[in-house]
């Protein structure tokens, strides 16, 4: 066998890409990943990708923010140093709502985005794991692991018949950034 690691099918149009994925799946070819310059709606179902759980993460972080805010304000204004402001109750709950809300949003946004960066390995300075440079511009790229899927000619034909404008055989997984 050759040194080919990945077969990349380039599509110029998202509809052709979806068609190509269908054809590959009909031919029992396992798809490694798909790289696109924009989100493709409905591709997750096709590739059997589960719903993201980030919504739940966001909720939990938001709730943490709410609890942090109310605990902090209660500790500072009610427990640690209660102030007599015109004889009004120390635990003036309506006054605490704005900050509880702000901290809910703050924790939710930062927690969720932080989790997103963490699970997707996004970080400043991280070397981009890019298989083809045009995948962020105008090409919709299907990547197929060449080691897992034999009969490369067959895969090439499926891709071309489905409307791929270019089929590449990459010997390296990622484009090297010197």
């Amino acid at each position: 066998m050759s040194n080919i690691k990945y077969i990349l099918g380039h599509f110029a149009d998202p509809d052709d890409l979806m068609h190509g994925i269908d054809k590959l799946q009909e031919g029992n070819v396992k798809i490694y990943d798909v790289y696109t310059p924009m989100p493709i709606h409905g591709i997750e179902d096709k590739l059997g990708i589960k719903r993201s759980r980030l919504g739940k993460v966001a909720f939990c972080f938001g709730l943490t923010g709410t609890i942090t805010a109310i605990t902090m304000i209660w500790y500072m204004l009610v427990y640690d140093w209660p102030m007599n402001i015109g004889g009004k109750p120390h635990f003036a709950f309506p006054d605490f709502v704005p900050i509880m809300f702000e901290l809910t949003v703050l924790f939710c946004a930062f927690g969720m985005v932080g989790t997103y960066f963490f699970v997707n390995h996004l970080a400043p300075g991280r070397a981009p794991r890019v298989m083809d440079l045009r995948a962020t511009n105008d090409r919709f790229v299907v990547a197929i692991d060449a080691k897992e899927n034999p009969y490369h000619d067959k895969i090439d034909n499926i891709l071309k018949e489905a409307g791929a404008v270019e089929v590449k055989h990459n010997e390296r997984k990622y484009v090297s950034y010197e």
Binding site: A12, P14, D15, M18, V34, Y35, T36, P37, M38, P39, I40, H41, E44, L47, S52, L54, G55, A58, G62, M72, I73, M76, L77, D80, W81, M83, I85, A92, D95, F96, P98, I99, F101, E102, L103, V105, L106, C108, A109, F110, M112, V113, Y116, F117, N120, L122, A123, P124, R126, A127, P128, V130, M131, L133, R134, A135, T136, N137, D138, Y177
Partner: protein
Amino acid sequence: MSSHHESILREPLVTGENITYSKVTEDILVPVENKPNKAWWIGFTVSAIGAALWVFAVSWTFWFGIGEWGLNKTVGWAWDITGFVWWVGIGHAGTLISAVLLLFRQNWRNSINRSAEAMTIFAVICAATYIISHMGRPWMFYWALPLPNQFGSLWVNFNSPLVWDVFAISTYFSVSLVFWYTGLLPDIATIRDRATGLRRRIYSILSFGWNGSVKTWQRFELVSLILAGVSTPLVLSVHTIVSMDFATSLVPGWHTTIFPPYFVAGAIFSGFAMVQTLLLVARKVMNFENYITMFHIESMNKIIILTGSIVGVAYLTELFIAWYSGVEYEQFAFLNRVSGPYWWAYWSMMTCNVFTPQIFWFKKVRTSIAWSWILSIIVNIGMWFERFVIIVTSLHRDYLPSSWVMFYPSWVDVCVFVGSIGLFFTLFLLFLRVLPAIAMAEVKLLLKSSSDQAKQKLIREGVVDPGQAAYYQESLEKYDSVSPRVAEYEKA
């Protein structure tokens, strides 16, 4: 997604012929990948001088204290808080476009959200500098944070709207920044993959290693949606809390329950005007006419007339409630606003915010670039006067007639204000130079469903109602001044 076609009656969101995915990238990255043109340099030089003036005036304030401003014993807040509220208000349109219009699935937001969000961030920076410099001793700014006092264990007072404001503005700024930057990642990756050498290295660091895989995009879309969901109440809360700085006081003219909705509407109003001011110039100078079309301009004008009218109703309601309350101090405050020594400020506000935007009811005006730009400037002026009227006219004649005074700005006041505009434009022009001003990935999404060429294809295929198709062509020819097809039509 391709199975979804928009009604032919909707105006196209991308005009021009032969727009492909790579053409979108090419067109939008022209200012980023090339040396700036003359217009940019002129604008940048003027703005940078303004920013330098700002540095000087703010340093002057820090050194000599706020006694250098025109404030006096009666008028303790004037141009500083006017400037602060004005800038925060301007910032609101960015979040409105990126968050609220996303929730409402308004696709026309896709090509204006990026620059509007950038505008939000720069406007909030300008607002924050006012807050810091009006403290008098800015190095003590951390006293507003919930830290224990060194001299005992006294905490900040969480019953105070000024403390709420600290939390609101800082949350608003940081969440807007995160929202903006997350949205930028795919576009930065596009620049990275087209660049070479040092540029590639820099954009590679900035891109966080984005690769556009399925899972990245899936989570990206969810993150955007949830951020929009939390930013929507956030943006409403921020200006609500800004208004509470006034509304929870006992000063006649400030102590009104209408303030939160009135401030929020005013904020959106002024923000859209500023977006209009910036984008009408940017689209021309940077040749973005195909992406920021007449439909975008008209949609923003519609929001301007809506929010302007809400603000108008709020002004009248304030007057009515002052009369209806039967409180003589309240009545005096408003009578003084309308006909006192600051009558000219009040009527400037009324004219600029309520009367002139009404001419946007005419479609001819709404779809005229010159008119849109002039009116956007007028609205910006009017909204500055609104804050000036609220703040200064409520303060300058207090309960004790012997302390009644007028407010006269000092040269430092003027320089801080003019300088903050310079700072804002400097930051905005730098942004146009280094980052894509239009969200490329999001515009690419619209190409197959909402672009003119997709609609023309449908018409050619004959799958749409001929009457509707004729209406579509006619309105495009009549109102969209930039489509080359229209230019050809005019020639013929």
